[in-house]
């Protein structure tokens, strides 16, 4: 609704920022995304991922996990078209 979507976080690759079981609210941006944004991405190989944008170019972003020990590397995820971005995380509801 209005581009908002709720997602439940699975895994530890965004620790300590996002933990397993947390919920996030994402919003589809109409303008460009920025370095540092946490985004939900529909990756063609890895499925729906939540990662932080580490680098941008006009039509694509490079992603990284907060926890390198448990995250796909940026190289493996590769540059992702902004068309694959489902939304930017705008609200975080931590598990108790």
């Amino acid at each position: 609704m209005f581009g908002f979507r709720v997602h439940r976080i699975v895994g530890q690759s965004m620790m300590p920022c996002l933990a397993n079981g947390d919920y996030v609210l994402s919003l589809k941006r109409r303008s460009s995304y920025r370095i540092g944004d946490i985004v939900i991405v529909q990756h063609p190989e890895w499925g729906k991922l939540v990662k932080r944008i580490s680098s941008c170019r006009h039509d694509a972003v490079l992603l990284k996990g907060e926890n390198p020990e448990a995250s796909l590397s940026s190289e493996r995820m590769g540059w992702q078209s902004t068309d694959h971005i489902i939304g930017r995380v705008v609200f975080h509801i931590a598990a108790q």
């Binding site: 690759s13 996002l18 509801i93």
Partner: protein, 165 residues
């Protein structure tokens, strides 16, 4: 409290999950799973071809359906197992040691697809040759010698094994 409310909604609405999880970098890599899957593909090809061209009984049609499905699954497994080793284990030092690995992996992908698409045993044999070459290259990067022997079960083909211990 808000989290509890969302959990309640989640049970009925089933919110999408966003994965903050991927490979645990456990460093456990072994091409044997790809080799066994390849042997399975050859075995399924043999069993399919044994059914022949004559009209099949209902029981044989059911058997054929299962064999084709398992061939599909195991050929995909070969591709997946090789892809993971190439994508996760191989880094620049390994690429330098095995400079033709990209072409080798690509050929495995193509031949794996051919095995899914048809029932020609030659494709299965070619896949085994390629996967054995990949296995040999993998063990070489670990400084482990290999030897070739006939596997002690159908399809009784030549397989590259590491010399361990």
């Amino acid at each position: 409290m808000l989290h509890t409310i969302l959990q309640t909604f989640d049970k009925t609405l089933s919110f999408d999950t966003a994965s903050a999880h991927c490979d645990i970098p456990c460093k456990i890599y072994d091409p044997s799973t790809a080799q066994i899957a390849t042997l399975s593909v050859i075995r399924f090809l043999d069993l399919i071809n044994e059914l022949g061209d004559a009209p099949l009984t209902l029981a044989d049609q059911a058997k054929l359906a299962r064999l084709v499905n398992e061939k599909e699954v195991h050929a995909a497994k070969v591709k997946d197992e090789v892809r993971v080793i190439w994508g996760d284990y191989f880094k620049q030092p390994q690429f330098d040691a095995i400079p033709n690995v990209h072409e080798l992996v690509h050929n495995i992908m193509l031949t794996g697809s051919a095995c899914k698409q048809g029932i020609d045993r030659a494709n299965g044999e070619k896949l085994l040759t390629l996967v054995n070459t990949f296995a040999e290259a993998f063990w070489k990067t670990k400084g482990v010698d290999t030897y070739t022997a006939k596997c002690p079960y159908p399809p009784e083909e030549q397989v590259v094994y590491p010399k361990l211990g």
